[in-house]
Symmetry: C2
Subunit: 326 residues, 2 copies
Amino acid sequence: MNNIKYYLERVAEIFAEEQFVFEPKELYEPIDYTLRLGGKRIRPTLLLAANALFGGKEEEVRDAALGIETFHNFTLLHDDLMDRSPLRRGQPTVYTKWGDNTAILSGDTMFALAWRYFLRKPSPRLQEILQCFNETAIEVCEGQQKDMNFERLPIESVSIDDYMDMIRQKTAVLLAGALKIGALYADAPEKEVKRLYDFGIHLGLAFQLQDDLLDGYGDTAVFGKKTGQDIRDLKKNYLILRALQLATPDQRLALAKLYNDTSVDEDNRVTKVMAIYEVLCLKPEIDKAITKEFDLAAEALEGIQVPEDLKTPLRELMESLNGRKK
Amino acid sequence: MNNIKYYLERVAEIFAEEQFVFEPKELYEPIDYTLRLGGKRIRPTLLLAANALFGGKEEEVRDAALGIETFHNFTLLHDDLMDRSPLRRGQPTVYTKWGDNTAILSGDTMFALAWRYFLRKPSPRLQEILQCFNETAIEVCEGQQKDMNFERLPIESVSIDDYMDMIRQKTAVLLAGALKIGALYADAPEKEVKRLYDFGIHLGLAFQLQDDLLDGYGDTAVFGKKTGQDIRDLKKNYLILRALQLATPDQRLALAKLYNDTSVDEDNRVTKVMAIYEVLCLKPEIDKAITKEFDLAAEALEGIQVPEDLKTPLRELMESLNGRKK
């Protein structure tokens, strides 16, 4: 029986074996750069582990693992351009290194390369697998649009429900989709596929809420980002939206003013917003929300009808994410 | 037996029946806007006609027709952003109307919507059809990158062969791909699919060379663009590259200077370059190149082993493009 370390290593090997540079090199070098930057590679790892959970053969999902990660990196490449993020994984982003046009076109090509991987091998359930991949891709785009819409709205008009729906689309459906695709390749029963998908959704929501937690309370040296970057960027996240719910009318006014007034100096805004978070005891609040999602994920995993020991890798991955510091 | 008018009208009806606006509307309204702008809709028309050529059922390719045109419009949307073109079909382009980020993300979503259309219906040859679509998409991206590379190069270092290879990828393969996909849905024999693909390649090359001709010699009122826009934008096209081949050493020096020196006033550059084209009798040269491609297209169409009268729609389309003024 395998553990999660085995799948993480397999994914690293699969990427190391693959070639990403073709002609014209101006198009493919940024793709190679992006795919070699690494990252956690959670999605292909989930895909391989989900496939094995139902007795699938690794050889049959190797390409799908490449496809799901290539797609994920395409979305990061375009998101970084749209968000004007200078760094990704500590390295310059593609648009800063090669310009906007290269970022657009190399991104488009990566989306098509993801499809090339998915189309390499036949499968009895190919149409269903591809539909799952594509509907997931559409939801990710919709989630990104909602995120951009939120940036333009005053914080008072975004509810926590709206926010959870946005992060479900922007982050959680791709983790869930990776698991579902792995299971479909192994021809898993419909009911189990559904449970595995739910596991992925809650894992994804927990993961995104952790990002919000780390943004407010992370150790800059470990997390790799400045504290309060979301506050600096005036991004809505769980902390600020929950703070608004818990705040007194005076605190609510102060928060709205700090968040909606772009003339306030950034460092000053972070200090003042964080001070209100302190008073409202917000950290236990977000910890509770994260724990709730991890519990729901664990429950979904528990419900899957396969021998318990086969679930070890997915349980290990979940546990390694729970309490992550970066 | 149908004629080309029938297929053009069917494509218009198919688009009129379809809904393109979903939530969030900020994402889908630019997509609806783009797909409703119209245009010639040559690619879905070719797809339907190619399918009928081999006895296919229109019902089975309706979605693929939507898919190929949605993909084409996605490439135009991103190209307009990369080229900073303010107008498309006489209307403001998406990035000028909604901003760069919306153009990026709505474009990405259109690519996924194209896939949704292609994935709607099963087909015994689905994997092959989807591979054809995707490899075509990759070639279109490669062609666009080569076009952008050429912009940065001095004209002396781009050969006509390089240029023909670029327009084959950027324009011709999508026409050829549309025809091939239509034929694959009708389960056409491999040999005939190959001939139809060649027909599309030469038709596409002729089409792009006509754009070059119209750029230099078109009637602005009919063509809808200023004469010499490629000269203004310092874009390589067939005219300038052929002019370089035919020029005396002095003329070649003058052309290179005019093309490589961005400080020259645009109108002045157009006048001077066009004067050299006049002396070199360039119009008959490009006419000859266009005729050659139309002849090769006609030859490929002739070789296809189906009753001659079934080829009428494709022959009509080819003839309607031959000699087009816009």
